[in-house]
């Protein structure tokens, strides 16, 4: 099942394609003459950058879960909730639907992104169970979904700006909000550093 087997790549033809503007240049030229982006046939050093940002993302994700995201104070009670703690609180009061959305968006998706990026980075060098098409699709999903994790940070910002009702109720952002924002940014940078052309270099059938 390798229907694209007859495709010539720029590297096969002895030329380099610009990753930004798709213009083709002779192998060995340092930068694209049209848009100025540095040219590399396969960005091998990119894997180092992928792992560096990936590690930074994981490190920032730890305090994002340990510290409170929101500090709520009303007349009757005050609470400071971590992401997971807040979700369980919602379940306790019967809001299972919202709790599930929060758990998926703030825990499920970030963890899935870490796994997906690690899998893609590892799979360019060894035998992969997923076909190249599927891994390309996975990469596109990770790139697309990255920015959406920022929802949580925006919700915290909105609620804190809005719920300032003196004694009745106030909401303040907790330190986890910044950690979470940084984690999302680092993960986006990690995904952007990945050179997806490397997915295609080993034919699925070539792998042993």
């Amino acid at each position: 099942m390798d229907g694209a087997g007859q495709i010539t790549t720029a590297r096969d033809a002895g030329v380099v394609g610009c990753r930004r503007c798709a213009r083709v240049w002779p192998m060995g030229q340092a930068a694209c003459g049209r848009c100025g982006t540095p040219l590399v046939s396969r960005d091998v050093g990119a894997l180092g950058r992928v792992w560096a940002w990936w590690t930074a993302g994981i490190i920032a994700y730890v305090p994002a879960n340990l510290y409170p995201m929101l500090e709520t104070r009303t007349l009757v009670h005050s609470s400071s909730d971590t992401i997971v703690g807040g979700a369980f609180e919602l379940i306790k009061y019967g809001n299972v639907g919202i709790a599930v959305i929060i758990l998926v968006a703030s825990v499920g998706i970030p963890l899935a992104k870490f796994f997906a990026i690690a899998y893609l980075a590892l799979s360019v060098k060894r035998r992969a169970r997923l076909t190249r098409e599927k891994r390309q699709r996975l990469y596109e999903v990770v790139e697309y979904i990255g920015r959406w994790s920022m929802i949580d940070v925006f919700v915290v910002a909105l609620l804190s700006a809005l719920v300032q009702l003196n004694l009745l109720a106030t909401i303040k952002p907790g330190p986890a909000a910044l950690a979470f924002a940084l984690s999302v940014m680092f993960t986006m940078l990690s995904a952007q550093s990945f050179d997806s052309r490397m997915i295609w270099d080993l034919r699925d059938s070539d792998k042993t």
Partner: protein, 202 residues
């Protein structure tokens, strides 16, 4: 290779090499193996992109200063504009404020203005503006970091989250932002990078 290099196109996602497609108006050139859209030129695209970018920029500036959400609880009302939202955090969390303003206002606006700067001379048939290539490169780099649409969804989530605490309602800026998101999506769909880069190459 006998084909001159400027007549080739390499897929930026999978490196497949093609003879630069002569794509007709309204058609799309798609990479055979990874299905990335390589080019999708349309005759009226230039004018459309300019009109949409201008609309989006005006909406963005107008939305920044109008109330976004309002809350009422036991007779006390409070409104928040985007600027209020962004400057909620103080102290160490000020970094977070700056990130939020950046993602929802500064970066989207910069991207729209750069696009206008690049597109206007091209569409009028003039020589590309000075540093137009650098400008377009930055406009493309900013694309994933412009998060207006994420913010709009964030508003909807916030509304649900405090529904049992107080009554929330959307202000005019929310609807401006909502239209803005739609306009930016259409703008992105009309903008053909290959066509723009080719035009800048002349």
């Amino acid at each position: 290779m006998d084909t001159p290099l400027e007549d080739l196109i390499a897929c930026p996602h999978c490196d497949a090499l093609y003879a630069a497609p002569r794509v007709k108006d309204g058609e799309r050139a798609i990479c055979e193996r990874c299905h990335t859209v390589l080019a999708r030129p349309r005759v009226q695209a230039g004018m459309t992109v300019i009109a949409l970018a201008l609309t989006a920029a005006i909406l963005l500036v107008a939305a920044v200063f109008s109330p976004f959400l309002s809350i009422s609880l036991a007779g006390i009302d409070h409104e928040a504009s985007i600027i209020d939202t962004a400057f909620t955090f103080s102290g160490p969390l000020l970094v977070l404020s700056l990130l939020v303003v950046g993602f929802i206002v500064v970066l989207p606006l910069t991207r729209l203005l750069l696009t206008l700067y690049v597109m206007i001379p091209i569409v009028r048939g003039r020589a590309p503006a000075t540093h137009a290539k650098t400008a377009f490169k930055w406009a493309e780099t900013l694309r994933p970091w412009s998060m207006a649409e994420v913010f709009v969804i964030g508003c909807a989530v916030a509304l649900v989250k405090v529904a049992d605490l107080a009554t929330l309602s959307f202000g005019p800026a929310f609807w401006m932002f909502f239209i803005l998101v739609v306009v930016v999506l259409i703008h992105d769909a009309w903008l053909c990078r290959w066509t723009v880069w080719t035009a800048l190459d002349r």
